[in-house]
């Protein structure tokens, strides 16, 4: 008999009722987006254009990327109409 170790179903079915697969894509980043809260006008362009959709509103004041998953592509910084986001080398944050 066959076992059900890797698959729960008879064929090649994956089941998202179980926890999703997820990679630590934050590890890929060489630069991180840093938001100047003062300059942020809360327009949301960074949020809509973020390919990973991890830029979210923080309170009512500004947007911020989830650094666990942000790959550091820099689109948010580029698309920010106020240049309120700068891409800063990860080296700067190494203690």
């Amino acid at each position: 008999m066959s076992s059900n170790v890797y698959f729960k179903h008879e064929g090649p079915w994956s089941d998202a009722n179980d926890p999703l697969l997820c990679s630590d894509t934050g590890d890929w980043r060489t630069k991180r987006p840093v938001v100047d809260e003062e300059n942020c006008i809360v327009c949301g362009f960074c949020a809509i254009y973020c390919p990973i959709q991890v830029v979210q509103m923080k309170g009512e004041t500004h947007f911020e990327a989830d650094l666990d998953f942000c790959k550091g592509c820099g689109i948010c910084a580029k698309e920010c109409p106020k240049n309120a986001i700068s891409m800063v080398s990860e080296g700067e944050f190494v203690k």
Binding site: D18, P19, C40, C43, F45, I52
Partner: protein, 319 residues
């Protein structure tokens, strides 16, 4: 804290009514146009769509690994050769069984324009009740950047490399979206990532129109890795593709072609090509060929769209 100046939130956010069904960490390159599109679609259309995917950059994420998934959508992993036929089978069975459904057949340009075009065309001819979305990154990116039917003139790929006897692809790209519109389907449209409001409207329109039959969306989605572009330029590339008329935004509803964004003074195509290394071997003469191609396609499109009053398709007999 002093009261700072706030802008109005972009209305695009209003279209994102549903959860992003994807895991936050998935294996797309930084700046990937496909990733933005793939996360955008279910946020606009809902998480109850059934999405089909083919071998491509989307497959490692759309399709699971063993029993686990990268997202919460119902999906069907298919072959490039038969993607539209698979979606046909799903949509027709749901119809027979009386199950409400939105089947989204999601493919790259390699499937849509090349190997799977036969069954895409067949499904359109039969007016099958589903939505076909082609994300166009102008080549076979997942296998390492090879030329496809939508790769533009002058682009270097690994099968149209630069060399003593070659400057890149020396053939013109096909106009897939116009070809699909000529199937007289209820809805065909182009869209891109710089104009997300326009894209959202078209996704919703397709969802509505698929009740009448086949809907086709051609979405221009840059690949920074394959095109030799900076990852942060993805949206800017889309924007310039629109502003140069390299990729005009239009829709055809019941055969009636309408520009959804008109560019009053189109920029030279060079302002678009300069953002990517894949065009770096193009000289002035090559740019003229590409520009002529862009102008020709826009001319055809313009001609079709001004005829809008006369060229609406008659409604089906049972309407």
């Amino acid at each position: 804290m002093t009261e700072k100046k706030k802008a109005k939130l972009t209305p695009v956010l209003d279209y994102l009514k549903h959860e992003d069904p994807f895991a936050k960490g998935v294996a797309f390159c930084p700046g990937c146009g496909l990733e933005l599109l793939l996360r955008f679609i279910p946020q606009v259309m809902g998480n109850d769509i059934v999405i089909t995917g083919t071998p491509s950059c989307s497959a490692p994420v759309l399709l699971g690994q063993n029993n686990q998934s990268w997202h919460k959508l119902s999906y069907f992993g298919t072959l490039m050769t038969g993607a539209a036929a698979n979606a046909t089978g799903l949509a027709r069975y749901y119809k027979k069984a009386g199950i409400d459904n939105t089947v989204v057949c999601f493919n790259g340009d390699g499937t849509a324009a090349d190997i799977g075009f036969g069954n895409l065309s067949g499904a359109a001819e039969r007016n099958e009740p589903f939505i076909y979305i082609c994300y166009d990154n102008e080549g076979y990116m997942n296998t390492g950047v090879q030329k496809s039917g939508t790769t533009p003139y002058g682009a270097t790929t690994t099968t149209t490399p630069f060399g003593a006897a070659s400057k890149g692809k020396n053939l013109r790209r096909m106009n897939l979206a116009l070809k699909m519109a000529m199937h007289k389907i209820p809805y065909a449209a182009t869209a891109t990532l710089s104009d997300l409001g326009d894209l959202a409207k078209k996704l919703l329109k397709a969802k509505e129109m698929k009740e009448k039959g086949f809907c086709f969306l051609h979405v221009f989605a840059p690949c920074p890795t394959g095109w030799g572009a900076a990852p942060d330029n993805t949206i800017e590339i889309c924007r310039r593709a629109v502003k140069t008329n390299y990729f005009p935004l239009w829709e055809a509803e019941n055969g009636k072609i309408r520009m959804t964004k008109t560019i009053k003074k189109p920029k030279p195509v060079k302002t678009y090509t300069e953002l990517m290394k894949k065009f770096k071997f193009m000289d002035e003469e090559d740019h003229k060929i590409l520009q002529d191609d862009v102008d020709y396609e826009y001319c055809i499109l313009g001609g079709l769209s001004v005829l809008e009053a006369e060229c609406q398709l008659p409604l089906p007999a049972d309407e």
